[in-house]
């Protein structure tokens, strides 16, 4: 047997095993998520959340919203947070050294006064310049922490230091939360004392109608790029995360909306400001902490659409976002490489971590290597085109089936897109995705890998268009 045939065999069998495992995982994810959503629906069909909202015995909850240069919308965003229906609520907005007049706008709008405040820094952060509380009792729930710029993770840690409640909800300040989002996301903590973290679904709000800080009409985005992301989010949140949550193997809770047991968050070390994937890294570290402690724990997930955000609508911004996500994934996986196939970490070490390693981190690289190999083989006329087309059709078809199953789950459960044209659009983006959106995401992810190699830090600029606002008269 020549070395060439050995290499070809390794590649052939390796890729065959890889693809087969991937397909098995995706089928399993589909089946498990179906069960998970069914259980969630049944469980919540008879829950009366109003009891929780008004009860003085409900646990205190602190919402932490970091803000950087958000002057244009910070007052409205704070108002939206203060209007959340929950008795024992504290809202902390962390002004992360904004260069604009975010702080001044908050001070003016809410009669904020700088107060002396002693804080025991359980998590190290950049210097806090001041703490502001409102002199108007109407806004007694609001605290503003003004600090030197240190990035999102640093701002969140600062908020955690000042939080007076045992449950903290970390959100992006420009997200739109559903009115009962807090009630729904904290319920798992009340049902099971082992819950250390609860994540929520993020949905795309581009071209949806927002009225006084509330989302009042769900629309499919008018342009293609956000539409691709709608499909992608439905697939990721309704299938992927639901299934991993059902297995108690979830490795990520979106930074845009997640609730945490504050004590565990602090004991695990808080958000890591050295990574751009602080949301994933924190969950991995909290889980690792609990595993090493040998205590039972759960990371839960609520599939209800609770939080709406604006997705990037141009390729430049999207590319930066996806590169950053990949960098975050690699950094989190590398930081906790000790768990890789380590049976001491149970499901986390034997399944969750390897899945992320092989099918999230390696997938774009393998895809890229595959493309390059194909090109080389084509140049040397070594491609059996009949096989190639059969394989390509199979893979693309399987991808279609998975996406279409996700759309089916969306229609069968939350049915946010009720118009036929919205469904047709979702089907159209499903057909186009493998040829437009997916290659772009693979390219951006590879760029993220390269950025790691070049030791690139930071988030890169992220600009948003803003929501489609209407005001009631």
């Amino acid at each position: 047997m020549s070395w060439q045939s050995v290499v070809v065999d390794i590649l052939t069998y390796g890729l065959l095993i890889y693809s087969t495992l991937l397909i098995i995982f995706y089928i399993s994810i589909g089946v498990i998520s179906l069960k998970g959503i069914k259980l969630h629906f049944r469980k919540n069909s008879f829950s009366d959340f109003r009891v929780l909202a008004t009860s003085s015995d409900a646990p205190g909850v602190t919402i932490i919203a970091p803000a950087y240069n958000e002057a244009a919308s910070i007052v409205e965003n704070a108002r939206s947070l203060l209007s959340i229906y929950y008795e024992n609520l504290e809202v902390i907005i962390v002004n992360d050294g904004s260069k604009d007049n975010s702080l001044e706008r908050l001070i003016e709008a809410y009669d904020m006064k700088k107060i002396p405040f002693f804080v025991h820094e359980q998590l190290n952060t950049k210097t806090v310049r001041g703490i502001y509380k409102s002199s108007n009792p109407v806004f007694h729930k609001l605290t503003v922490v003004d600090k030197q710029n240190g990035g999102k993770a640093d701002a969140l840690n600062s908020g955690v230091n000042f939080a007076s409640n045992d449950i903290v909800i970390c959100i992006d300040v420009d997200c739109i939360l559903e009115q009962d989002a807090v009630l729904r996301i904290i319920k798992p903590f009340l049902e099971d004392p082992d819950v250390i973290c609860s994540g929520g679904v993020i949905r795309i709000a581009n071209d949806c109608v927002v009225e006084n800080g509330r989302l009042v009409q769900v629309n499919m985005p008018k342009t293609f790029l956000p539409s691709f992301q709608v499909l992608e989010y439905i697939r990721a949140f309704l299938l992927g995360r639901m299934a991993w949550s059902k297995l108690n193997g979830l490795l990520i809770v979106s930074g845009a909306f997640g609730a945490f047991n504050k004590n565990i968050l602090i004991k695990a070390g808080g958000y890591d400001h050295r990574t751009v994937g602080e949301d994933m890294e924190l969950i991995v570290r909290m889980r690792r902490y609990m595993e090493e402690l040998g205590k039972p724990y759960k990371v839960t997930y609520i599939p209800d659409p609770l939080c709406w955000t604006e997705a990037p609508s141009d390729y430049k911004i999207l590319g930066r976002q996806r590169s950053r996500w990949m960098r975050g994934t690699v950094e989190a996986l590398f930081a906790h490489r000790r768990m890789f196939f380590n049976p001491n970490y149970h499901l986390l070490g034997m399944l969750s971590y390897p899945f992320w390693f092989f099918f999230e981190f390696l997938a774009p690289i393998i895809e890229f290597v595959g493309m390059v190999t194909l090109l080389l083989l084509a140049v040397f006329n070594r491609v059996d085109w009949n096989y190639f087309w059969a394989l390509l059709i199979f893979i693309v078809s399987f991808g279609y089936l998975y996406s279409i199953f996700a759309i089916f789950m969306e229609v069968a459960t939350y049915c946010q897109y009720k118009r036929y044209r919205d469904i047709f659009k979702l089907l159209l983006v499903t057909l186009l995705e493998p040829f437009i959106f997916h290659p772009f995401v693979v390219w951006a992810s590879l760029k993220g890998d390269l950025d790691i190699y070049r030791n690139k830090k930071g988030w890169g600029e992220m600009t948003r268009k803003g929501f489609q606002q209407t005001k009631t008269t």
Partner: protein, 365 residues
Amino acid sequence: MVVLFNVEVDFQKVLNTASAVIWIGILTVVLLIFVMLTIKKQREKTKEKILKSFRLLIEKALFYEPDEEGLDFKLPVPEKIHKLLRKRVFQQWLIDELVRARKNLSGNAHENIKNLYEQLNLFQLSLKKLSSINWNVKVQGIQELCIMDQSRFMESMAAFVDHDNADIRAEAQIALVHFRGFQGLDFLDTITKPVSYWNRIRLLEKVAFAPYQEFTGLARWLQSPNDSVILFALRLTGIYHIFNVHDEVVGCLNHGNESIRIESLRTLEDVYSEKTSKAIISRYEEGDLKLKIAVLQTLSKIGDSGNLDFLRAAWKNDDPRIKLAAARAIISSADDGIETLKKTVEAEPMPYQIIFEQLKAEAIL
């Protein structure tokens, strides 16, 4: 042909067949999506139409009064409604509407909703649900019977009070308290399964609406082998200021479960006596950080000037969280709180003096 693990496989044929199967799957799911969407839309339309008739009936029921006093509730129900109610799904829609209406109403209207539910024999559907094999249907049945005040079926619901399924037993416990008020809490004597925090909140809300009766089992519950029962009993003790179980609450300070130790301190804020401070302080030294802070918080609520020496000593602790809690307690325990704290803090270096500034500002705000 490809040789895979020494077996000749026509890989291309396999792939083509698999792709064909997948495409059949895709087309089926696409069809299902549109069928489901159409059914959902149609169902919404039908529901809206039928609910219109139901809502008209409910409106009539709200203001209905029998012709003569003492006569039974007998609302004239159109034949159309009777016809609709032959279908189980429509019965359920009406029950849902009645449940929603009853939750939001009070007085005569509240009672009339129940009367209508009984007049239309809808309780039979709810009752049937209790024997369903699906746990969620059982829960729904208990909830409906409870909201519609069907106390005659209480025993059937009571059977589920220690059920393996957390949602079923939670609903049954709520139903018992709903029907029997404080006496309904007797299930706490026997349950072996945990009462979740979520359900403890719901039970407290339910109890709050019941006419007050003296607790008979509180002392027993405070010594229950079921930790969640103790936690619930502690909250009841605090909320209703049941001073005669003070010693049992103090006994809970030694419990092996940290949550119970902390909750008992919180409870003592509401039922303290002259012995309380001493009992709490005696637990301070052996406690961990969380318990120490909780002790200081409780002493801050009790506000006994006799504790000042202890609090000054606590202030000397190196942990700033303990310092802050001790400072708060000093302010509330001394007659001239801020001044006493100022004197205590004066000797301390920065940054601890800022604690004084903070508490002073809090007092002003």
